[in-house]
């Protein structure tokens, strides 16, 4: 049994201490995980069926239009119109969100490094400008994202990067321990 196994397997009352700086890329991914903890993504099969229905509908409209003697190219034009709108909305969303992350980044410039202590009682979060203590009842969801673990409390979130975990504590074991603490 190597050292990391023993740390991972421990049913511990010990606190886990981590500290990390703001990571914009990770925060972006965390935001997705945050949202998925509110509205879980639909299963693949369901999404596939929905898309099949949508395209079948488009095809049906094309056929109906053709039956009335109109060119089915109208459907093509409609699709291009929707596509143009999707592109503009995507662009707007991007600028909006990058603005959002800039704002957050500015906050973190002052906040500096975040130190988090996680134990049976909850989370203690501390940085240069603030101090939060949340017990587990305040945590609505814990969600894994690529490179980190997201804690959601209401609409606020905290993302603990995997890289900040104590050496020997694998992200999965970390989340298992949290699950056990939350279940208490």
């Amino acid at each position: 049994m190597n050292r990391s196994d023993s740390i991972d397997g421990e049913v511990s009352e010990h606190a886990i201490n981590v500290s990390f700086a703001y990571d914009r890329a990770l925060s972006r991914r965390a935001m997705t995980g945050w949202w998925q903890s509110v509205v879980p993504p639909e299963p693949f099969l369901k999404r596939a069926i929905v898309w099949a229905v949508i395209w079948f509908g488009v095809l049906a409209i094309a056929l109906v239009i053709a039956a009335f003697g109109l060119s089915p190219w109208y459907v093509g034009a409609g699709l291009i119109g929707a596509g143009a709108m999707i592109a503009s909305f995507a662009y707007l969303q991007r600028t909006r969100m990058s603005r959002f992350w800039d704002e957050l980044g500015r906050h973190w410039d002052r906040a500096g490094e975040t130190q988090v202590q996680i134990d049976a009682s909850g989370l203690a979060i501390r940085d240069n400008v603030s101090q939060r203590a949340l017990n587990w009842l305040a945590i609505d969801a814990v969600k894994a994202v690529r490179g980190g673990t997201v804690f959601r409390s209401g609409i606020s979130m905290l993302v603990v990067p995997d890289a900040s975990l104590p050496s020997g504590l694998r992200p999965k074991a970390f989340r298992e321990r949290i699950a056990a603490w939350r279940a208490q």
Binding site: W73, A77, A82, A84, S88, L92, E103, A111, L134, G154
Partner: protein, 175 residues
């Protein structure tokens, strides 16, 4: 006198303020950027119409623009409804979380803004506050992506919105 140095209140979180908070980030996008985006859309509309018209002159006429606009409107309507739904969900989960964390108390002191709830305690120095916003029926204290709304009616009696604002502005700039 301690009264001068502590403002304590129980926030009522009216939905109006939550909705304004949700739009706060939109407000921060410069108008120019939004204008550029919509002009870009218009350019895309015109160019793609001309392009398709040039490639398929026999199949694609001016009347297709109507179909094009129909498609665009259809997606815009969908996006609008979707955004509204997302917003509603956000407000909903916030409400649920607050309901569970009651009682909630906001306390403003010369050095700090403290939020005490049944499930936790948040303690901000004034340095943590990014912005103090004037809202329609209250004041918003923004920390990162979070906006703490204080409705005018939440304020202690004898404290007007202007006095409140003046006092917290003074505390904030003193640190």
């Amino acid at each position: 006198m301690s009264d001068n140095n502590i403002i304590q209140l129980t926030p009522s979180f009216p939905e109006t303020l939550d909705r304004e908070a949700a739009y706060l980030i939109n407000k921060k996008v410069p108008k120019r950027q939004t204008a550029v985006a919509w002009l870009g859309l218009l350019a895309v509309l015109v160019i793609s119409t001309l392009l398709v018209g040039a490639i398929f002159p026999d199949k694609f006429g001016f009347s297709h623009i109507i179909a094009f606009l129909f498609g665009a409107t259809f997606f815009a309507a969908y996006a609008y409804l979707e955004t509204r739904q997302v917003l509603k969900t956000g407000i909903e989960i916030q409400k649920t979380a607050r309901e569970r964390s009651k009682p909630i108390v906001f306390r403003f002191t010369p050095n700090r803004f403290v939020i005490e709830t049944a499930n936790g305690r948040t303690d901000y120095t004034w340095d943590a506050i990014d912005e103090i916003e004037s809202l329609s029926i209250g004041t918003g204290v923004r920390v990162g992506a979070l906006l703490y709304p204080i409705a005018d009616t939440d304020l202690p009696e004898a404290l007007s919105r202007r006095d409140f604002r003046a006092r917290i502005d003074a505390w904030r700039s003193a640190t």
